[in-house]
C-alpha cells in the first residue's frame, strides 16, 4: 500500500540577501511528505531546518526568496505564491505551525478564549456560542482541565507547559492537514517535554494530522517520528525511517549527532563532539559541506557533491562512503551500542 504524498518538495532553493551578500540557506532540497506520517527534521542551529518549513507557509523573512524548485500541495505550487491572499488559503487552514517559545507566541493582552475563538471564527465559519463550544472542546482535547474557567484567563496565568498546550490548541483549532512543530519542547522542562510530545502523538491520531517535527535533539524524536531527515548546511544529508536512522545510520554527520548525545556517553570519558563549525553559507560550497569536519572524509568529498545513495527503498544518504568504490568505514562504536539496545538501564 503506497501512502499518498500530501506535500512534495522538488529541488527547493532559498536565498537570503544580507548586507549585499547572498546566503544560500537551502541548497536544492527534495522531500516527499506522506499523508498521516510524522517526519522529524534534525540539524544544528543554522542548518536551515526552520527556513525550510517556513517556505511551506510563506513565512520567510522579507529578504528571503525562493529562487528555484517547487512545493506541490493539493495541485498548487506554493513556491509560486506571491500575495498574502493566496497564502491565507493555505496558512493555518491547511498547514499550521507550533512555535518554539510559548511565552512569545501568545498575545499577552487577550484571553486564551479570545485567541482560540479568533482562529475558529476565521477558519471554520463558526461564530459566537458555537465557536466558544468548539474552543472548549479543543482545550479539553489538549488536556487543560476546567476549560470554561481557563478560557477567561490570560497567558500569564498559565505555566510554560500549559501555554504550549494552548498554542497547540490554536494550531489544531483550524483543522489543518499538516501540523509543523518547530522545536515544540526546547523551552520546556524534561517532564513537561515528555507530556507535550505524548499529547502531540494523541492529537495526530485524533485529528488525522500529518506532523513535521523540527529539533536539534535526536533523543527527543525517537519516540514520535516515523521518518527522520537529517539536515546539514541547507541540505538533507540522510533520510530514512526512524529505525533506519537510529540503528543503521550511514552519513558521518548523523553518526556525529548521535554520538554527541550525553545519554550515550560513558561517565569519565570524553563525550564525542563535532570539531569545527558549520560552513559559511555565504560562500559557494564545493563537494560535501560536511567534509572539513568529517574524520572519514574522502578526497572526492572536497571536489564533488555526493548524490543520494539508496540504502533501502525508504533510506538514502548523501555521502560518498556509500559508493561501491569507497573504502569500508565502520560507524563509531557508540552507534553499534545503540543498535544492540545495550545502553541505559532506564
Amino acid at each position: 500500500m503506497e501512502p499518498n504524498i500530501i506535500l512534495s518538495v522538488k529541488d527547493l532553493e532559498v536565498k537570503f540577501s544580507l548586507r549585499g551578500k547572498t546566503l544560500n540557506a537551502i541548497r536544492g532540497v527534495s522531500l516527499d511528505l506522506f499523508e498521516g506520517e510524522s517526519l522529524a527534521i534534525v540539524g544544528e542551529s543554522g542548518s536551515g531546518k526552520s527556513v525550510f518549513v517556513k517556505t511551506f507557509m510563506g513565512l520567510l523573512d522579507v529578504n528571503g526568496t525562493i529562487t528555484g524548485g517547487s512545493i506541490l500541495y493539493n495541485g498548487q505550487d506554493l513556491a509560486k505564491f506571491k500575495t498574502e491572499k493566496e497564502w491565507l488559503t493555505v496558512r493555518g487552514r491547511e498547514i499550521a505551525m507550533v512555535l518554539q517559545d510559548p511565552m512569545t507566541s501568545l498575545n499577552p493582552l487577550k484571553t486564551i478564549g479570545y485567541q482560540i475563538c479568533e482562529a475558529i471564527e476565521l477558519h471554520q465559519n463558526l461564530h459566537g456560542p458555537a465557536a466558544k463550544e468548539t474552543a472548549i472542546q479543543i482545550l479539553e482535547d489538549v488536556g487543560i482541565s476546567d476549560p470554561e474557567r481557563r478560557m477567561k484567563q490570560y497567558p500569564h496565568e498559565f505555566s510554560g507547559g500549559m501555554r504550549q498546550r494552548v498554542v497547540i490548541a490554536i494550531a489544531v483549532a483550524c483543522r489543518p492537514k499538516i501540523l509543523i512543530c518547530d522545536e515544540p519542547t526546547t523551552a520546556l522542562d524534561v517532564t513537561i517535554q515528555a507530556q507535550i510530545l505524548s499529547l502531540l502523538k494523541q492529537l495526530k491520531d485524533k485529528y488525522h494530522l500529518t506532523t513535521v517535527y523540527i529539533t536539534h535533539d535526536l533523543g527527543v524524536v525517537a519516540g514520535v517520528a516515523d521518518r527522520v531527515a537529517v539536515m546539514y548546511a541547507g541540505d538533507i544529508v540522510e533520510i530514512g525511517t526512524c529505525e533506519e536512522v537510529f540503528y543503521s545510520p550511514r552519513h558521518p554527520y548523523t553518526w556525529a549527532l548521535l554520538s554527541s548525545l550525553p545519554q550515550l556517553g560513558t561517565k569519565g570519558e570524553e563525550l564525542f563532539s563535532i570539531p569545527g563549525t558549520p560552513p559559511n553559507l555565504f560562500a559557494e560550497i564545493r563537494g560535501d559541506a560536511f567534509a572539513p569536519r568529517n574524520p572519514y572524509a574522502l578526497k572526492i568529498d572536497y571536489v564533488k557533491r555526493p548524490p543520494y545513495f539508496t540504502v533501502s527503498p525508504t533510506h538514502k544518504a548523501r555521502t560518498w562512503l556509500l559508493d561501491p568504490r569507497a573504502p569500508k568505514v565502520d560507524p563509531p562504536e557508540v552507534i553499534g551500542k545503540l543498535r544492540k539496545g545495550g545502553f541505559g538501564s532506564v
Partner: protein, 317 residues
C-alpha cells in the same frame, strides 16, 4: 565515591531555608534542605523549573539571603552576616557559570573586560598583568587570545559559554556553581562544553555544583545527584545508584521522562506522572533519612519499609 564519606566536606548545607515574599505572605522557595559537597566531586542538583534549584545556588554565593539554617564552606559559616575579608575571599573562591550565554555577557563590553572584571575586586594589577591573565583564561577554555578585543555578539553560543567559563576561571576558584550551563545550547555544542568542564575539573581539582533539569546530562557529569521538588530534596544518591534503584516516586517520574535516542525503547515507554497526593503524610510526616550508605530519601516510616523491600528485591549490581 566511597572514599568521599570519610573526607571533610567542602561545602555543608544544613537545614537551608530561603523565603521570598512579604512577612504576611511568605513563600518558601527552599525548605529545610541539607547536603554536603566533597572536594573534587561534581554534585548534580536536578529539578523542574520553580523547584528552587537555582535559589540554592544563589544562596550559596550570597545573592539570596538565607532565612534559616546555615551554609558552611570549609567549616566556616558563610551564610548571614560575615566579615568583610571572608566575603572577599568567598567572591574569589566560589564562582558561577550562568545558563544563557546570550544574556549573561555585557553586550557593550569587550571580552577582555568581561573576563577580567572580577579581578578588579582583589588587588591592583597592571594592564599587562591583566591582559596576560585574560589571555591565559581564554586559552584555558580553548579560545584564541586575540578574541580579547572583540565584543560578545561576534561569537556563537558555544563560544560565549566558553567566555562565561573563562570569566569564572580567571579568579582561580575552588568551587564553581554551574547553573544550567548547557540547556540553552545545541546538542553538538553541549558535548564540547561538557568535555571542557570535565577537563578543567581534572586539571585543577575543581568542585562543581551542577544545576540542571535534564537528568541525562547530569548523569553524564555528576558523581552524586540530588533530586529537588518544590523546594525540598526528595532523594540523594550516587549517580549509578540513583539510576539503578530510584526510590522516590518523583525521581522515577523524572527518570521516565528522559528522552532516549532509541526508537524501540522510546515507542513503548510508559511515562510516569508524579502526583504529590499519592503520599499519605496525614499520620506521619516524612523525614530525611539514609536508607543505605550514601543513599538518602525523604519518606515516612511506612514508605521507608516499602523502599527497603524494593531495595532487597532488586539484585545489587
Amino acid at each position: 565515591m566511597s572514599e568521599s564519606t570519610n573526607r571533610e566536606p567542602l561545602l555543608e548545607v544544613r537545614n537551608l531555608k530561603v523565603t521570598f515574599g512579604s512577612k504576611r505572605h511568605p513563600f518558601p522557595a527552599v525548605n529545610d534542605v541539607s547536603f554536603d559537597i566533597y572536594p573534587g566531586e561534581t554534585f548534580g542538583l536536578v529539578g523542574e523549573s520553580g523547584s528552587g534549584k537555582t535559589t540554592i545556588g544563589r544562596a550559596i554565593i550570597r545573592i539570596n539571603p538565607v532565612s534559616g539554617g546555615e551554609i558552611r564552606y570549609k567549616g566556616q559559616t558563610i551564610s548571614g552576616k560575615i566579615s568583610r575579608e571572608l566575603d572577599r575571599e568567598l567572591t574569589r573562591k566560589i564562582q558561577m557559570i550562568f545558563q544563557d550565554p546570550m544574556a549573561s555577557l555585557n553586550e557593550r563590553a569587550k571580552v577582555s573586560y568581561i573576563v577580567s572584571e572580577g579581578l578588579n575586586n582583589c588587588g591592583h594589577l597592571s594592564e599587562a598583568e591583566r591582559m596576560r591573565a585574560v589571555e591565559k583564561a581564554l586559552s584555558d577554555v580553548g579560545l584564541l587570545p586575540e578574541f580579547a578585543s572583540r565584543f560578545p555578539h561576534e561569537f556563537s553560543g558555544g563560544q560565549r559559554q566558553r567566555i562565561g567559563i573563562a570569566r569564572a576561571l580567571i579568579m582561580q576558584p575552588e568551587f564553581i556553581i554551574a547553573d544550567e550551563p548547557i540547556s540553552a545550547l545545541d546538542v553538538s555544542i553541549r558535548a564540547q562544553v561538557l568535555n571542557l568542564l570535565s577537563r578543567l575539573q581534572k586539571e585543577r581539582g575543581l568542585t562543581y555544583l551542577f544545576i540542571a533539569h535534564d537528568l541525562s546530562v547530569v548523569r553524564f557529569i555528576s558523581d552524586r545527584i540530588a533530586v529537588i521538588h518544590k523546594g525540598v530534596i526528595v532523594e540523594l544518591a550516587e549517580t549509578e545508584q540513583l539510576f539503578a534503584h530510584p526510590l522516590h516516586p518523583y525521581t522515577r517520574a523524572l527518570l521516565s521522562a528522559i528522552p532516549m535516542p532509541d526508537p524501540s525503547i522510546e515507542k513503548k515507554k510508559q511515562l510516569i506522572v508524579y502526583d504529590p497526593g499519592q503520599h499519605d503524610y496525614s499520620k506521619e510526616k516524612p523525614v530525611w533519612c539514609e536508607i543505605e550508605p550514601g543513599h538518602f530519601v525523604l519518606a515516612n516510616q511506612p514508605e521507608l519499609e516499602e523502599y527497603r523491600r524494593q531495595l532487597e528485591e532488586k539484585p545489587q549490581k
